[in-house]
């Protein structure tokens, strides 16, 4: 019942303290992490956005340069020059030496016929009239195609410019090296999962992406999600990975430069931070739990001990009260018993007188009578002595100074306890020095001390033993020793015997106050009281009472 109460208390304390200390820690950790993650993500997004824009600009620049190169070549040469294959090949090599990336060059007349061509493919004489881009070039003057297969059956795209200063107009067309272009775009790839590619409006790859697809296959991206400028979207990839896409529209062709990154990789730094934070928090929590559990246990244990002590003390005080009430009653009994005893004494005395009147020779019965009366007398005296001792002890309550014979006081005290000792087969031997002077002291209190010491000795022995009581005059003190041959007091408890409520007896016997009170009394008299004990051999209490001689009247 009681144990569960303490366990319950302990649980509640631990629970509440843990809650109180966990909640802010976790809340704080969470908030900091959340804020940090947001900032981190923002930064990552900014970065990827920036990269996308920068790369788009670079690609734009690249294409613009190609157009410019092509346009310059077209406008600085006459049709006849340019249709000369050697000249055209020279132009191509010049152009390639100035930045290059051109695979071939071709000149196409206004009816779509390719009239001159240099490059690795055999495309001379082919007609492009039917090609969709042909019309575009004719109407707009400059054209960059999407990637397509064309006659060569390889994915590529072309740039075409229209020379229209003089009639008839003609077109100069160049194929951009798809590998080079692709490599340029891919230069924006970072990390293990970073990707950079270009898709057209329909979401078709214009350059080969690093992962998940060939050129001209569909990227699966919905380009309408990308608005003007640079846009960030987050989307699941085919393999169920969270991907971050930054898309930036190119200026010339309606192509979208896309830079993608796996969120997980981008967040790797954050993840590390988070792990570290979690580790710190977990460690902290463990430390807190440990500390709280240990301290609470200690606390509850202390509480329990002090409660037990308090309860023990209360019990002892209650017992003390009971004993005191009994003592009071005992005193009144001793007092009351005097009356009938006086009657008995009187009658016995009278009978003695009567016997004297009788004829002594009358019978042997009278002799018997005399003997019996003597016996009664003797036992009456016994009772009288007990009552007297008891009353003597009970009466004096107010402290007062009087002339005290220590030996006499010891004898009186022994009288009080002799029968108690005898019943338990304990012999009390005295060795009282005859030269002990009469001192001015409080006889009742001194007797109280002796009573405590001797009855303690009796209780310590319990049964069958010897108590030795000595008195000596030593310089300015009277030393009284009470030794028993009981079990002794363990060394670690010897220092505690004079503490209040210390008792080795069961509560029924002692009050736990006897030695403490004795200590107090003797201390007030200016004396000392000490204990010496060896386990298994016995205990000796020594009281030193300062000799204060009574003032002569």
């Amino acid at each position: 019942m009681k144990t569960s109460l303490y366990i319950n208390l302990q649980r509640k304390i631990i629970f509440i303290v843990l809650l109180v200390s966990f909640a802010p820690l976790i809340l704080l950790g969470g908030t900091i992490y959340y804020q940090f993650a947001r900032m981190y993500k923002n930064k990552i997004e900014e970065q990827i956005k920036y990269r996308a824009r920068a790369q788009a600009e670079a690609v734009d620049m690249f294409l613009k340069e190609r157009i410019a190169l092509l346009s310059t070549a077209a406008h600085t040469h006459s049709f006849s020059d340019i249709t000369n294959e050697r000249e055209l090949s020279r132009i191509l090599s010049i152009m390639n030496s100035k930045g290059g990336a051109f695979v071939d060059l071709g000149v196409i007349t206004n009816n779509g016929q390719q009239v001159a061509y240099v490059g690795p493919y055999d495309l001379l004489g082919l007609s492009y009239y039917e090609q969709p881009w042909f019309g575009e070039v004719m109407s707009k003057g400059v054209y960059i195609s999407d990637v397509y297969f064309g006659y060569r059956q390889l994915p590529h795209f072309i740039i075409a410019v229209l020379r229209q200063e003089r009639q008839p107009v003609w077109i100069m067309r160049a194929t951009i090296d798809p590998d080079l272009f692709g490599a340029m775009v891919r230069s924006a790839q970072v990390g293990k999962t970073g990707d950079a590619y270009i898709i057209n409006k329909a979401g078709v790859y214009q350059t080969r992406p690093r992962f998940g697809g060939k050129i001209l296959s569909n990227s699966g991206l919905n380009t309408s999600l990308f608005g003007g400028g640079t846009t960030i979207i987050e989307q699941k990839s085919g393999e169920d990975k969270e991907l971050l896409y930054a898309g930036s529209w190119l200026k010339t062709p309606r192509w979208l430069l896309v830079i993608s990154q796996e969120v997980a990789e981008e967040m790797e730094g954050l993840l590390a931070t988070r792990n570290m934070e979690i580790a710190i928090i977990v460690f902290g929590l463990l430390a807190i739990i440990l500390t709280i559990v240990l301290t609470t246990r200690l606390f509850v244990k202390r509480l329990r001990e002090s409660d037990a002590k308090m309860n023990e003390m209360n019990a002892q005080l209650m017992h003390l009260d009971k004993l005191a009430a009994l003592g009071k009653m005992g005193a009144s009994v001793a007092h009351e018993i005097n009356n009938p005893l006086v009657v008995v004494m009187q009658k016995i005395g009278w009978m003695e007188d009567l016997l004297d009147e009788e004829d002594p020779q009358k019978s042997k019965n009278l002799e018997e009578y005399r003997k019996t009366i003597n016996k009664i007398d003797y036992h009456l005296e016994r009772i009288r002595k007990v009552v007297h001792n008891m009353l003597g002890y009970a009466r004096k309550m107010e402290p007062r100074l009087e002339n005290v014979d220590v030996n006499e006081t010891l004898n009186q005290t022994i009288d009080l306890l002799e029968n108690y000792a005898r019943i338990n087969n304990i012999d009390i031997q005295t060795d009282l020095a005859p030269g002990v002077p009469i001192i001015a002291n409080d006889q009742a209190q001194l007797q109280q001390v002796f009573l405590n010491l001797i009855s303690n000795a009796i209780d310590a022995i319990n049964k069958d033993g010897l108590i030795e009581i000595k008195s000596r005059k030593i310089d300015t003190h009277i030393a009284v020793t009470v030794s028993d041959d009981g079990p002794g007091i363990p060394r670690d408890r010897q220092g505690k015997v004079f503490e209040p409520f210390f008792t080795t007896k069961d509560t029924e016997k002692g009050t736990g106050l006897g030695l403490w009170v004795s200590y107090d009394i003797i201390k007030k008299m200016g004396g000392t009281i000490t204990v010496e004990s060896a386990e298994g051999e016995g205990t000796t209490f020594t009281v030193q009472i300062p000799i204060v001689l009574p003032q002569k009247e």
């Binding site: 209650m318 003592g327 009356n339 009657v343 008995v344 019978s363 036992h379 009772i383 008891m390 006897g514």
Partner: protein, 405 residues
Amino acid sequence: MVEDLRSGLDKNIRLLIVDDEETFRRTIVKRLQKRGISIEEAGSGEECLSILEEKPMDVVVLDVKMPGMNGIEVLRHVKERYPKTEVILLTGHASTQDGVGGIKAGAFDYLSKPIELEHLLGKIKQAHEKRVREEEKRREAEFRAKMEQQMIATERLASLGTLAAGVAHEINNPLAIIKESAGWMKLILNKEEMADIPRKGDFEMALGKIEKGVERAKRITHQLLGSVKQTDSVCSEVNLEELLGETADLIHKEAGNKNIEISHQIDPAVGSIWTDPYKLRQVLINLLTNAVHATGSGGRITIMIEPVDERVAFIVRDTGQGIPKENLNKIFEPFFSTKPPGEGTGLGLFVTRSIVEKLGGKIEVESQLGKGTIFRVQLPRYQKIDEKPAQNDHVDNLKRVFEIN
């Protein structure tokens, strides 16, 4: 007024200024009176001592240089006769020597003339505070000493109590012998050969008286032995009317001696209460004995029993001298007693409270000095069978804090 607040001097302070220069003295007196502080004055050391003989003073402001008895001498006298009185010395400009000598002789401090009034006031205040502090310390020590004395006395009774059973034995054995002896003598007396002794009747009478005396003595010791027996805690329905009657009977004699009227009333709405009748009786006896002790001759004690929610309140009201406020929280402490040592155990109220708490109730006290005291005990109507162990305040408080039911 403002200045008073600043100096913070107690208006009831008993002050005396001793100086032979009348103008100086008068100025100080007047200026202090302006602040509402009254101060006695003396023109010489001799006058000072004669004033002190009649009126005790808290602080004496004393000039050192005076014709006749000089200040240091007066100081010695004062310290010797009234050690509790604090003395502040006023010395001339250059005579710090006097001041130091004064401190050695037990002065609180010394000030050199000319003095600033605020400075003087400050010193007086300090001196007074020291006195008050020492007074408190002394009272505390007195209280402790009294408590210790009480404890010693109670322990003495208790040690007597431990002897009681043994003492009964020591009395009973000789009593038994006397009894058998008397019986034997009676037997002989009735024998034929004794038939003709002249004082046979007297012998018979004497033996009868002896047997009766022994019988009485035996009853007394057996009564003591009977009270040694422990009573186990048992709960039952308590007849309150009967219980009150019993307890009132027990203290009737003592109350009658002091001409104290005891009345009681039980609210019929109380109904019944289940508790330990012996313990409840002990509680009531303790409270009533206390009340009788506290009440002067011709006073009145009222006992009321009334219902309070699910509990029953026992109220013991007396018209005694009341309990001073500073003692109200001490009365339940062990060894606190206002009775002379040996009369009470100093444990009565402590035990009462312990019992009440064990019974699951609480006890409160209310007192007005000069008018009387009210003890109010509240007990649950039903004492639970599985008696909870007595909890002490720690656990209770903690339970409250953590709301453990």
